[in-house]
């Protein structure tokens, strides 16, 4: 293991699904399990020789075959995943776990079984977790029931120990990993963050594409490396990105290339609110179900739209952002509706916000660049206006403009 770890180490991991660490784990006889959604509990997929790998299809050049099945009106993430699966891009996986999170992912996941993806691979299975859309004790129990069913499947197919104690240990290890990532994420609150948004995005994506035990040391070393840096001081505006799932750091890079600094990432694959430890010390299946349902900030959770808005504003203030880029994936119904309430609420809270629609792979860079540039300029203009109005107020208070009264 090299002593000095830089971001290029993590950048190499996100170039393809079978990266060097996954390959190493495969060579050791370990089994990667693909999963589609942040409602799938990583600790459960980390039992014994198993390790979780989030389904990732960056690099797929088109979705011609998947379009035949899913049509072109489903989001490009669900189509890209299916396309890669049809092209045998997931043949290294020992299973594919989906959440019935939205209509698109559900249909994409169902096609794994319909089309017999990896059907000749021993032990391979696909599983749809029934994820409720509201949080109550009975819905938590319902989700825990499904997690247990999944555990039975894992025990049956791969002989792993799925007992409460084994799962509790996995949760503990997961929490250690999460807290380490969270400490790096927290660096972005500083005025001169030690890490750029792009690098952090790469780190977050890499952390879901390789075995966590193999990543722990490199991330610790990377943290040491970061602490020796001067930090990012030159930027025009601090930006928070909110929206649909985004596993492509090129989007963050594009935003930062316009002079902004992305300091907060409130989206699936991002760190907010994903990096919270799972409560330990009680029924681990219930703990998992409760944690994942309560943490889920996806608009699929139908009762929590006000909480999502409040949470976004809290993060905005905490990370001292100057504006929000609200990105939604084309054809995503859930985010399509969410923006209606969210944009209005953010504007009421006097937060600059721009809404952009994007595809899963990086496309339409020209348009996106122009919109981000204009947005940053508007933030700067607003800042200038505030300065002018402050100096006018000071002058007025001092009686220099003739309006002050005795």
């Amino acid at each position: 293991m090299q002593e000095n770890i830089t971001i290029s180490f993590f950048n190499n991991l996100i170039k393809e699904p079978v990266n060097s660490l996954v390959q190493k784990a495969l060579d050791e006889g370990r089994v990667p399990l693909g999963y589609s959604c942040s409602l799938i509990p990583e600790p459960l997929l980390s039992l014994g020789k198993l390790f979780p790998v989030r389904l990732y299809a960056q690099g797929v050049s088109g979705t011609q075959i998947a379009d035949n099945y899913l049509s072109s009106v489903l989001c490009s993430f669900s189509r890209s995943i299916l396309e890669l699966a049809i092209l045998n891009g997931f043949d290294f996986l020992g299973g594919a776990i989906f959440a019935a999170s939205c209509d698109h992912i559900r249909r994409s996941g169902q096609h794994f079984e319909l089309l017999g993806i990896n059907k000749n691979k021993p032990g391979f299975f696909s599983f749809m977790v029934d994820t409720p859309r509201k949080v109550s004790a009975s819905h938590v129990a319902w989700l825990a029931r499904d997690y247990r069913k999944l555990a039975e499947k894992l025990a049956e197919n791969y002989g792993v120990d799925t007992s409460d104690s084994a799962l509790s240990t996995a949760i503990k290890e997961h929490n250690t990993f999460i807290m380490l990532l969270k400490s790096i994420g927290g660096l972005r609150k500083e005025d001169r963050p030690l890490i750029s948004g792009t690098d952090f995005h790469k780190l977050m994506v890499a952390s879901r594409l390789a075995p966590k035990d193999m990543l722990l040391e490199p991330i610790k070393k990377y943290l040491v490396h970061l602490k020796k840096q001067d930090g990012v001081g030159m930027y025009r505006a601090r930006i928070m990105v909110v929206g649909s799932q985004c596993d492509n750091p090129a989007y963050t890079e594009l935003i930062e290339a316009q002079g902004a600094l992305v300091v907060a990432d409130r989206y699936c694959w991002g760190s907010l609110p994903g990096l919270e430890p799972i409560p330990e010390g009680r029924d681990p299946y219930i703990a998992l179900a409760s944690h994942y349902l309560n943490m889920c900030a996806c608009p699929r959770m139908m009762e929590k739209y006000k909480e999502r808005i409040d949470q976004t504003i809290t993060y905005y203030n905490e990370y001292k952002a100057d504006g929000i880029v609200l990105e939604t994936m084309k054809f995503c119904d859930l985010w399509g509706y969410e923006v209606l309430t969210m944009v209005e609420a953010l504007r009421k809270a006097d937060i600059p916000v721009v809404r952009v629609e994007r595809e899963y792979p990086l496309t339409g860079q020209g348009q996106l660049r122009t919109r981000i540039q204009a947005f940053i300029e508007s933030i700067e203009g607003r800042r200038d206006l505030q300065k002018v109005s402050m100096s006018t107020r000071k002058r007025r208070d001092a009686g220099y403009d003739g309006t002050a009264t005795a």
Binding site: V73, D103, R107, S108, Q110, D130, M302, D333
Partner: protein, 482 residues
């Protein structure tokens, strides 16, 4: 023979005129019962103007039809006009008991609590039926507000009515996660705009599991408690029992109707089958009037069956229609009958939940209602495992002895569009002719009526190698018509 035809034509004209007059009489009666309130209502809810076009819609459905097939559809419209008048009266007068509900939420429990359900989607559903462009302004308003144009046009039109303030006042909102993400997500804005207390029911993915009923019954109990806390309603179990018993009566007729629909030739087809089911099983708890109308339609059907008389002349195909028919073109089935001899013997909206409700105890009622809600039409087709979609199609296709499937591919319905590829492959394997036409449910600017007809014409000519019964109907200029 000529004499017989002339007499039939005169009878058809008389039936048509009779129901036209009955509809206007009912509309006038509604207006005259409270003229000032209705006038004020028309200012507050401009979509009410579009409902005045009902007779034109009824005539579009009846056009070119004859005998009992024509009478059945007109009978349905006369019942619906009267019932919509009652609904409007409630929306205008009884707002202190009005509960705004999502369209997939059956109304039995709400009514048993002495409350009045108002389906928020009603204007969005009804007005494009009356006039294909009537909902355009609402959809445009939603898009101006930032809603993507690729979302399903039903919640998009509904969102327009919400943003325009054209939703009646109520005391609470009830919503569900059915039938799709768009419909579910739109209720956040309604809650935001109205500030009303809201309860949401969540149908699980594996809704056929036994313990799913326990989970959903608990959710229904939560809904009842919510309504008791936030509205003047209280649970009257006897009233619920009566509602359930009425439902069972209607369901009994429906099962007999299903039996007749398997006959060859089918005694009724198309919207004469679909629309009565759609309205009577969903719009309100089953009333005696619904049962009587259903019975009369059944008798018309039975008479055709006894005489061995087909519903339509020159029927050449028995088709299964999947997905809802376009709201902007609900009379497309009439056109298919007259142009290509296609009789739709069964469709997704009609092929719903078929069990009777158990009224032996309060708990039994809730359990069977839970099952009815979760297993209802559309809910089970657009949610849950893939078998709900495909197995229902194969089941209905076999049961009703169909010889082709027509897939109405609503481009805004992501859940259905995501099944088209597999459906095509399976139909090829089974050697079932599959006609897929794309359309937008409420928006004829995306695909015009002629666009729909062209897709059907091309399939019938090129794949089925059929000749039209009436070539004069292949192209009709109705882009700007109601």
């Amino acid at each position: 023979m000529m004499e017989l035809l002339r007499r039939e034509k005169m009878r058809d004209a008389w039936i048509s005129y009779k129901y036209w007059a009955i509809n206007w009489m009912n509309i006038n009666r509604f207006f005259l019962s409270m003229p000032i309130t209705v006038l004020k209502g028309m200012f507050r809810y401009p979509w009410m103007y579009d409902l005045l076009k009902t007779n034109a819609l009824a005539l579009r459905h009846a056009e070119g039809r004859t005998g009992r097939q024509q009478e059945a559809i007109l009978l349905y419209f006369s019942m619906a006009v009267k019932d919509v008048n009652d609904m409007l009266t409630d929306a205008l007068v009884n707002t202190e008991r009005l509960v705004l509900t999502e369209d997939m939420l059956p109304p039995e429990i709400i009514c048993a609590m002495g409350l009045i359900p108002w389906t928020v989607e009603i204007p969005g559903i009804l007005i494009p039926m009356m006039d294909q462009h009537a909902a355009d302004k609402y959809m445009d308003r939603s898009q101006n507000e930032g809603l993507p144009g690729d979302t399903c046009s039903l919640p998009r039109a509904t969102m327009g009515t919400i943003l325009e303030g054209h939703v009646p006042d109520g005391v609470a909102i009830l919503s569900t996660n059915m039938p799709c993400d768009g419909g579910m997500a739109s209720y956040a804005k309604l809650q935001e705009v109205t500030g009303l207390p809201t309860y949401r029911l969540d149908v699980p993915y594996n809704f056929r599991d036994d313990d799913a009923i326990d989970l959903f019954v608990e959710d229904l109990k939560g809904m009842i408690s919510f309504l008791e806390e936030n509205t003047p309603g209280w649970m009257d179990w006897d009233k619920l029992r009566r509602n359930c018993e009425n439902y069972n009566r209607l369901n009994k007729i429906e099962m007999e109707r299903f039996d007749l629909l398997t006959a060859d030739p089918p005694p009724l087809v198309g919207d004469s089958v679909t629309l009565p089911h759609w309205y009577c099983f969903n719009a309100r708890p089953v009333t005696m009037e619904f049962i009587e109308t259903y019975q009369r339609i059944f008798e018309l059907m039975k008479a055709n069956y006894d005489e061995g008389k087909p519903a339509i002349r020159n029927q050449r195909y028995r088709a299964l229609l999947w997905n809802p028919m376009p709201s902007v073109y609900t009379h497309v089935e009439n056109w298919m009958e007259r142009t290509w001899g296609i009789g739709i013997v069964m469709d997704m909206l009609t092929y719903g939940y078929t069990d009777s409700l158990d009224t032996s105890s309060n708990d039994a009622m809730l359990r069977s209602l839970a099952k009815r809600y979760m297993w209802g039409t559309m809910a089970r087709h657009t949610r849950g495992p893939v078998s709900n979609f495909l197995d229902d199609i194969w089941g209905a296709y076999a049961k009703f002895k169909c010889d082709m499937i027509i897939m109405a591919a609503h481009v805004g319905c992501k859940s259905t569009m995501g099944m088209l590829g597999v459906l095509r492959e399976e139909c090829r394997k089974r050697k079932i002719p599959l006609l897929v036409f794309e359309y937008e449910l409420m928006d004829s600017r995306v695909c015009s009526r002629q666009g729909i007809r062209d897709q059907i014409n091309n399939f019938m000519k090129n794949v089925m190698k059929a000749e039209p019964s009436d070539p004069g109907l292949l192209v009709i200029d109705d882009t700007m018509a109601w």
